[in-house]
Each structure stands twice: as structure tokens, then as C-alpha cells.
């Protein structure tokens, strides 16, 4: 039996409060039932251990929701269960998403000692008014404190920011980037605000920047940030990319734990579409999986390796006739800077179904 390494994703569906733009699967919850949550997760770990065996784990990601709300003992039990049932590689990247105002220095250092080595901090904005508008529970200083603490404790630190807000200008975004540069980060994510159904923003009829402005903002981020882009919304000093996400974008296998968490296990030569807590487990064809690899891989600046199978579903004609959008280098296909902006449209022509 062929056992490929699998990356693990754990979803923590609790938040202190729902932000105004957020459509992620998470509940605002004063006192989450952590024991129940732990039991479910332990059950899933046991399940996958039986199903797939003592696989190697190159990365683990605790995402949410707000994983930093997790009590120390809960996280500890989860990590030790992973260690028992699977084999965590020595250089395993273990990331955890955190929100300012939900974690103090003590907890941070406990998490560090449990093996968390990468901390992603949800900051979104460096302006207190904007943070309030977004429905965040913290101010800018609290966010910067958390960043500094995490750095001091030796975490590999990343921060999430948001741009393209109502009434924001391209100049505002440039200034925002300059401020981010001052934070001395090795990794950050810059997300364009999108208005999702079933969120308070959706009902507010906000005056969003138009498509051209959004494009200019996006381009100005690439020019202004010190960190180079390596994925549509992610920027890092080379070597500091998020390994977990990079693996998933490259099409490596992964398993999702917790309600709503998606996975793509690869068992006995078959790919599966999986959703945590036994919600879904269905085979998908190798071709479908290759389509997914192209969809995610083309979002990264290193692009997709053109294997024989991938080659079969690429539209060679379209690649050839659009050198301003697509390039092939060292057997990899990737977008140009211009192409990346309109990737969704490109994919429609690039992939032959």
C-alpha cells in the first residue's frame, strides 16, 4: 500500500464575536463546549489512523474560526493524539491562526512549547476606526503587541490584512502597505474585501471600489510591499512561504478535521473528496483532481508542473496565443502578472474538460 504524506487541517469553529464581513463557518460563542469538540476531533484522528495508517505529517494547520481561543489543555491533547497516531516529521510546520484579544503571552508561550511554530495573526487593519467598522474585537495596538510577542517567542509570524474597503483609495492602500512594511514581517496575506451573502455587510449596500480601482490597488500592493507575492493574496520573504498552503495548492494530499473542514486524502491510488467529521467521503477521478491542481496551482507564482496528465487537460492553443497572460518555464506553466489578475477567466479557457 502506497502511503503518501498527508497535511492535516483542523477547523476550530468558534469566535468571540462574528466580524461584519465574515462568511466562514464559525459561531460566536462565549463558552464553547471544548470537551465535546475535543472528543469529536479525537474520534476523527482515530478514524483516519485506522483508515490510512501511520502516515507522515509534513504540516499541520489550526484554522478557524479562532483557534487561539482554544484552552491549552485541549490543544495539547489534540497535538499529542496526532503524534501518537501519525508520524509528525521533525521539520513539520505547525501553524495556528490567532486573533488579538484572545490570547496572552502565557498561552502563546504554552502553545509554542506544544510545538506550534508558525502563528498567523488576524489584524485586517491598522486603523482603529476601520477595525470597528469591520466588527473586530481589538484595536491596532493590541494587534501589534501580539505580533511582537509572537516574534519574541520565536514564532514564524504572519499577519492577515484586508483592503478594497468602501471608500478606500489606491493611495490609501499604498500607505497601508508602507505601514505594513514597517512591521518587519516575513509573511503576510492581503485579502480583497468581498461582500458575501449572509453577512451584515451584505445588507448594508456598501459603496465598493469599482473593478478598475480594485485592479490598481492590487497592482500597487505588489509594487509597494517589501515582500514578494507568491500566491494571489500571499506575500513572503523567499523561504518563509506557508508550507501547508503551498502543499495544498500544489495538489498534495490533506485531511480535514472538524465540522466543515475539507480534505483530499489519497488512499490506494484513489483521490477522495472529504469533509471532516464524517460529512463526506467520495472518490473523485484523477482527472478531476488534476483540474483542481491547476485551479489552485495557477494561483501561485511558481505555477503548475506540466506532467503528462496535466498536459492533457491544458489548452495548448490558448497558451500559445496568449503570451501576455501565460508563460511556460522549466516545465511549469504560470501566469504573467497581468494574467494573474484575471485568472478566473483564464482558467475557463486554459482547462479543457
Amino acid at each position: 500500500m502506497l502511503l503518501l504524506p498527508h497535511n492535516l487541517y483542523f477547523h476550530i469553529p468558534f469566535c468571540a464575536q462574528k466580524c461584519n464581513y465574515c462568511a466562514f463557518y464559525s459561531h460566536a460563542c462565549k463558552k464553547p463546549d471544548w470537551d465535546k469538540y475535543l472528543n469529536e476531533i479525537l474520534g476523527e484522528i482515530e478514524f483516519w489512523h485506522k483508515k490510512i495508517g501511520q502516515i507522515e505529517i509534513p504540516t499541520i494547520f489550526f484554522g478557524g474560526g479562532t483557534p487561539s481561543l482554544m484552552p491549552e489543555n485541549i490543544l495539547e491533547k489534540i497535538i499529542s493524539a496526532i503524534g501518537e497516531k501519525f508520524s509528525i516529521t521533525p521539520d513539520c510546520e505547525i501553524s495556528l491562526e490567532s486573533n488579538p484579544g484572545t490570547i496572552d503571552e502565557n498561552k502563546l508561550s504554552d502553545f509554542k512549547s506544544m510545538g506550534i511554530n508558525r502563528l498567523s495573526v488576524g489584524i485586517q487593519s491598522l486603523d482603529d476606526e476601520t477595525l470597528k467598522f469591520l466588527g473586530r474585537i481589538h484595536n491596532a495596538n493590541q494587534a501589534i503587541d501580539l505580533l511582537n510577542n509572537a516574534k519574541k517567542l520565536g514564532f514564524n509570524v504572519s499577519a492577515d490584512f484586508m483592503y478594497g474597503l468602501p471608500n478606500q483609495s489606491v493611495t490609501d492602500v499604498k500607505n497601508f502597505c508602507k505601514k505594513i512594511n514597517e512591521l518587519g514581517l516575513n509573511h503576510c496575506s492581503m485579502y480583497e474585501l468581498s461582500i458575501e451573502p449572509n453577512t451584515p455587510f451584505y445588507r448594508m449596500n456598501l459603496q465598493m471600489p469599482d473593478n478598475e480601482t480594485m485592479a490598481q490597488m492590487y497592482e500597487s500592493i505588489d509594487k509597494t510591499l517589501d515582500l514578494p507575492r507568491y500566491e494571489v493574496s500571499n506575500y513572503a520573504t523567499p523561504g518563509f512561504e506557508c508550507k501547508h498552503n503551498q502543499n495544498i495548492w500544489d495538489g498534495e494530499p490533506y485531511i480535514g478535521f472538524g465540522r466543515g473542514a475539507a480534505g483530499r486524502p489519497f488512499i490506494n491510488g484513489t483521490w477522495y473528496e472529504q469533509i471532516g467529521n464524517n460529512e463526506k467521503f467520495e472518490p473523485i477521478s484523477a482527472r478531476e483532481r488534476d483540474v483542481e491542481k491547476i485551479i489552485t496551482g495557477m494561483r501561485t507564482t511558481r505555477g503548475v508542473k506540466i506532467t503528462d496528465d496535466i498536459d492533457k487537460i491544458l489548452n495548448a492553443e490558448f497558451i500559445k496565443s496568449n503570451p501576455d497572460l501565460l508563460v511556460i518555464e522549466n516545465d511549469r506553466i504560470k501566469t504573467t502578472k497581468k494574467g494573474l489578475l484575471i485568472l478566473d477567466e483564464i482558467l475557463l479557457d486554459l482547462i479543457e474538460l
Partner: protein, 595 residues
């Protein structure tokens, strides 16, 4: 049956005045169908007829009625279509009758189609029996409706019967009047056979079914007959009538209405209006009636080129039962193979288009409907032009003529101003105006091209649905017409081009261009949309480019959704046609017209 005991009649009415419902009651009262066989509106047999609540094909039914005098009569009821587009089919049915019930909804009064159909009945020398319907409704006003019938139609309505098709009230009295007041046929039973070919349709089991009205002599099973106009000879394999079930008999006698089946394979072998006689006889042709002429034309192209054979196949199947739907193959440089189709009107076009999409699972691009123009060339030649794509170089044209109609519009007088403004906006010329109580009858001459688009819809909305409308083409008149082309990203999109009067060209061009701006999705580049006459641009809009569409986030959980979305979008993309590198969705072709 003795001719004196036969009554051939039709019910004519404005749409929704209750023709189908009353027909059902007549069938029920005379025992044509067991009550368990009665379903609402027996005669509207096509799904689409039931759905839209309109009768498209004329149907016929024989009723046996025992009158108060103890005698049994044969009543042949011809159902007639109830929409302006199908006036032609109404006159066909009327040609087989001696009498007509002019049915008026007593809550509505006389409407434009009541009037138009009453005139048709008059033209056919029919005895007319006014009948007021829906008297079960509290809002019915029998007295007012009677006055309108005498004022507007000029029929004496003092003794008009009042009925309810719904409850059956008054129906026995109506049957009695049909016998006593409508005349019997008066053919010559001893003369050589002459029968009028009223209609024909294709039945997948029986082949072509021919509806006939025997005028002189008789038709028998096994008889060798001749179609006078075509000269074709056939044997009568089956002969009979409808109750509305098909009933076989041995013969149809003088004055009777029924069907014959002859082994004919397609309806195109028989001409509606032709005279049928015995193969050995030589007879004068019956007056018959003019063949139907298509007045509205449009091309249908399959969105997926591979679908052309299916389109053709579908159109052939529909044409089997619809002699008024005509088409020829068309090849367009932009859209590939398609069909150039002719229709009786816009509704007819919509019905055919809808049936092709629905019954044959086709996705179609319809070009802008056009009417038939007469082009007088400088060379002296006169050519018919029904496809703007075929417009010759304007320098070769001496002048152009377009078809005009006479339109009758009736409405409560408070809506008159809006309707008159609409008519003059559409180049209408007022011919007559008369009042009936607080209602107005307007008669206008209008260019057909101005009413085929959205005229009826506008009339309805300007009058909150109270105005009614009817028209008929009366001739051609010279007109200052220009061809307006639509350019998308500098490329001419021929299916969107149209002819129109010069004074409207700019407005129409602007409307279509504005509409397209919303119908064509953004592309990676700016898209100019222009309306042009020859080389002159008369309207212009620009669709801004989109520069960014990439979704901000795509993590583990979003991947299936993205893949499935992509599959769906790719499927949708197949349904787009490209002009000047711009993908134009199918809906744009249809909705661009709805200005």
C-alpha cells in the same frame, strides 16, 4: 343527415371571453363526451395552447342534439383561434360554416377582436347570433353589452341570449336557438362532389388528417378523389367526424363536416382551401380562401453548430402540423447554418421558438424579427426583402415599400390620450374615431414593422390591460427606410441589424445599444457598441473592461466549489457566440429587441 337538420357554426370571441368553456358546455349538454371524459377545455389539445390559454389550431366537433320539436339535429361546431396572429385561421373555419355565435363577455363588453371577427363573419355571409357570456358574475352587465353589440357591430342584440359557460345557465336555450335561428347548408346533394379542404394536420399514427366540409354531393370510403388545385389523386381510406373523439363512418353527405384520411404522407401535399372532388368529375373550384402569408420573419440559429440537424428536424416536425410556419435554410458567416422562418405574427414566432427549445432541447439565437419589404431597384426590378442581411447596396435601390396594417383599438376613453400618442409615435395615421358609451374605437393605419415588436405590450400597459387590439395588413406604401447595423467591438453583428424608418433610426439604435451594454458581460478589454447606418455611427456605448476577477481566497474548502463552478461556467460558455472577440450570450439576442 338531411341538410335541413345540419347546422354548421363557429363561435367567435375576443380572447378569454369564454369560447373554449362554452364549447365544453355544448359538448357536455349534447352528450359528446361522458362527464368523466370532460377535462377543462377539451378543444385546446396542444400543451402550449392550454398553458397560454389560447387556441392555435382550429378544431371541430359534431354534436347530436335532439331539439324541443323532437327532431335530432347534427351540429358541427368549429372552434376558432383567439389571437390576432391567427385571424387567418379564423377565416378558414368560418368558410365552412353558415352561422356564427358572436360571444361577448358581459363583464367586458365588445372588444377589438369581437369586432374584427364579427367583420370576418360578415365577409363570409354568415348568420350571426350574438350571445352574452359570464352572466354568473356579479359584474356582468347584459344591458350595456347588448347596447355595444348594436352600436359597435351593428347587430340587433335585443333578443340576444345570456349564458354562463361556467354554470351552464342558458345553454339549453342557446342550443334551441342554434337550430331555429341559424340556417342549414344549401348544397346540391345530386351534383358532383365538391368539398372544401378546411385544414390538415399530421398524426403520427394516421398520417395526414384532412378536415373537409362537403358542399355538394358526398364523399365515401374507398372513393377515388382528386384535389383540384394540385391535381393529385388519392383513395379515401378512412372517413369520419369528431365528437371530439374520432369516429369512423362510411360517408360524409352534403353539408356535413368531417375528416378524410388518404394515405397522404405530408401536409405539404394538400393545399388548405383547395376543392376536393371525385376523380372522374370536372367541377368548378369553390371560392376557397387565400393561402396564409407569413408577415414576420426571423432567423433561428443553433447556439451549438452541431445542433443544426436537430433544429431542422424539429422545425420539420412542427411544420407538419402548422402550414403557416415556413422556413428555408440560411447560412450566415457569423452564425453558421440556421433557418430563415416566416410567421403569422410575433406570438406565432414566440410559440414556435419556445416549442423548438422545449420539445427538441435546443438553445437558439433568434435574429431581430423583420417584415417583408419590397425593394424597387434602379434597374426596375422589384425584390422581396425579409432578411436585413440580404439588403443590397443602398445605391442600387430606387425606393423601398413596407407593409401597412389597419389596426382597431378599443379602450375606455380615459386611456385614449396615451394610446393615440403611441400610435403617432409609431407613424400611425388616424382613420377613424368613434365612441360607444365611455369607450372609444380607434382605427389607425400603421406600418406593420412598428407593431410587430412590442406594440401590443405597450397598448396593454398604457391602458392597464383594458385596451384590445386587432389588425390586418392592407397594402404596401413607400417609406424612407434605412438599415441599422449593430457593431460590437467594431464587428458587425448581422443578426442584430434591422430596417427602420429614418426618423426612428437614431432612437432605436440608441435603445438597442444601451440595452446591449447591460446584456453583454464585461471582457478584459473595453468594448465599444455602436449603431450605424452605412458608415455613419448614430449611437455608441462602451462596456468598461474588467481587469481583475481572480477570487481573493482559495483554500482547502473552496476547491470543490471552484471546480464545480468552473465546469458549470465552461458549459455556459459553450452557449456564447463570439463576435469581434466578444462573447455574446444567447439571451442578448432575444432581449436586445425588448426595448
Amino acid at each position: 343527415m338531411k341538410q335541413s337538420h345540419i347546422r354548421n357554426f363557429a363561435i367567435v370571441a375576443h380572447i378569454d371571453h369564454g369560447k373554449s368553456t362554452l364549447s365544453d358546455r355544448l359538448i357536455e349538454f349534447t352528450g359528446g363526451l361522458e362527464s368523466r371524459e370532460m377535462k377543462a377545455q377539451v378543444l385546446d389539445s396542444m400543451d402550449i395552447e392550454r398553458e397560454r390559454g389560447i387556441t392555435i389550431k382550429a378544431q371541430t366537433v359534431r354534436l347530436n342534439y335532439t331539439a324541443k320539436n323532437g327532431e335530432t339535429y347534427q351540429l358541427n361546431l368549429m372552434d376558432t383561434p383567439g389571437h390576432v396572429d391567427f385571424t387567418y385561421e379564423v377565416s378558414r373555419s368560418l368558410a365552412a360554416c353558415e352561422g356564427a355565435l358572436i360571444l361577448v363577455d358581459a363583464t367586458q363588453g365588445v372588444q377589438a377582436q369581437t369586432l374584427a371577427n364579427a367583420y370576418l363573419a360578415l365577409d363570409n355571409n354568415l348568420e350571426m347570433l350574438p350571445v352574452l357570456n359570464k352572466i354568473d358574475l356579479p359584474s356582468s352587465d347584459v344591458t350595456a353589452a347588448k347596447e355595444q353589440i348594436s352600436d359597435v357591430i351593428g347587430l340587433d342584440a335585443k333578443d340576444a341570449l345570456a349564458v354562463s359557460g361556467k354554470t351552464g345557465q342558458g345553454v339549453p336555450e342557446l342550443l334551441e336557438e342554434i337550430v331555429t335561428k341559424l340556417p342549414p347548408p344549401n348544397g346540391d346533394a345530386n351534383a358532383a362532389t365538391r368539398a372544401l379542404l378546411v385544414d390538415s394536420w399530421y398524426d403520427s399514427y394516421l398520417g395526414v388528417v384532412i378536415l373537409v366540409r362537403v358542399v355538394d354531393g358526398n364523399l365515401k370510403r374507398g372513393q377515388k378523389i382528386k384535389f383540384v388545385a394540385t391535381g393529385a389523386e388519392y383513395f379515401v381510406d378512412k372517413i369520419g367526424y369528431f365528437t371530439p373523439k374520432m369516429v369512423n363512418t362510411d360517408e360524409l353527405n352534403t353539408g356535413e363536416v368531417g375528416f378524410i384520411i388518404t394515405g397522404m404522407k405530408t401536409i405539404h401535399d394538400c393545399k388548405v382551401g383547395d376543392t376536393i372532388t371525385d376523380a372522374r368529375s370536372t367541377v368548378d373550384r369553390l371560392a376557397g380562401f387565400k393561402p396564409s402569408v407569413p408577415v414576420v420573419f426571423s432567423s433561428f440559429f443553433p447556439v451549438e453548430a452541431d445542433d443544426y440537424p436537430n433544429l431542422r428536424d424539429g422545425a420539420e416536425k412542427l411544420a407538419l402540423n402548422d402550414a403557416s410556419f415556413v422556413f428555408t435554410t440560411e447560412k450566415s458567416s457569423a452564425l453558421g447554418f440556421g433557418l430563415r422562418c416566416g410567421f403569422l405574427g410575433l406570438l406565432h414566432m414566440e410559440i414556435i421558438s419556445e416549442r423548438l427549445s422545449r420539445e427538441f432541447n435546443l438553445s437558439l439565437i433568434n435574429t431581430i424579427p423583420s417584415v417583408l419589404y419590397k425593394l424597387h431597384l434602379r434597374s426596375g426590378e422589384v425584390i422581396d426583402l425579409e432578411n436585413p442581411a440580404d439588403m443590397p447596396d443602398p445605391t442600387l435601390i430606387s425606393f423601398i415599400e413596407e407593409p401597412w396594417v389597419r389596426a382597431t383599438i378599443m379602450m375606455p376613453d380615459n386611456y385614449m390620450g396615451g394610446i393615440m400618442a403611441l400610435c403617432s409615435e409609431r407613424r400611425g395615421i388616424q382613420e377613424n374615431i368613434s365612441y360607444v358609451g365611455n369607450r372609444v374605437v380607434l382605427v389607425y393605419q400603421l406600418p406593420l414593422a412598428e407593431i410587430v415588436f412590442d406594440f401590443y405590450d405597450r397598448v396593454k400597459s398604457l391602458s392597464s390591460g383594458y385596451a384590445s387590439f386587432d389588425y390586418s395588413v392592407f397594402g404596401y406604401q413607400e417609406s424612407d427606410l434605412v438599415k441599422v447595423s449593430i457593431l460590437v467591438n467594431e464587428e458587425n453583428v448581422e443578426p442584430l441589424s434591422f430596417l427602420c424608418h429614418r426618423s426612428f433610426s437614431e432612437k432605436r439604435g440608441r435603445q438597442i445599444v444601451e440595452k446591449l451594454k447591460d446584456l453583454i458581460p464585461r471582457h478584459q478589454f473595453k468594448i465599444p457598441i455602436q449603431a450605424a447606418i452605412g458608415g455613419k455611427i448614430i449611437a455608441r456605448e462602451t462596456i468598461a473592461a474588467f481587469r481583475k476577477d481572480v477570487t481573493a481566497k482559495c483554500y482547502g474548502g473552496d476547491i470543490s466549489r471552484k471546480r464545480k463552478l468552473l465546469e458549470k461556467q465552461k458549459e455556459g460558455k459553450k452557449r456564447l457566440r463570439t463576435f469581434g472577440n466578444v462573447e455574446i450570450p444567447q439571451t442578448a439576442f432575444i432581449n436586445a429587441l425588448k426595448v
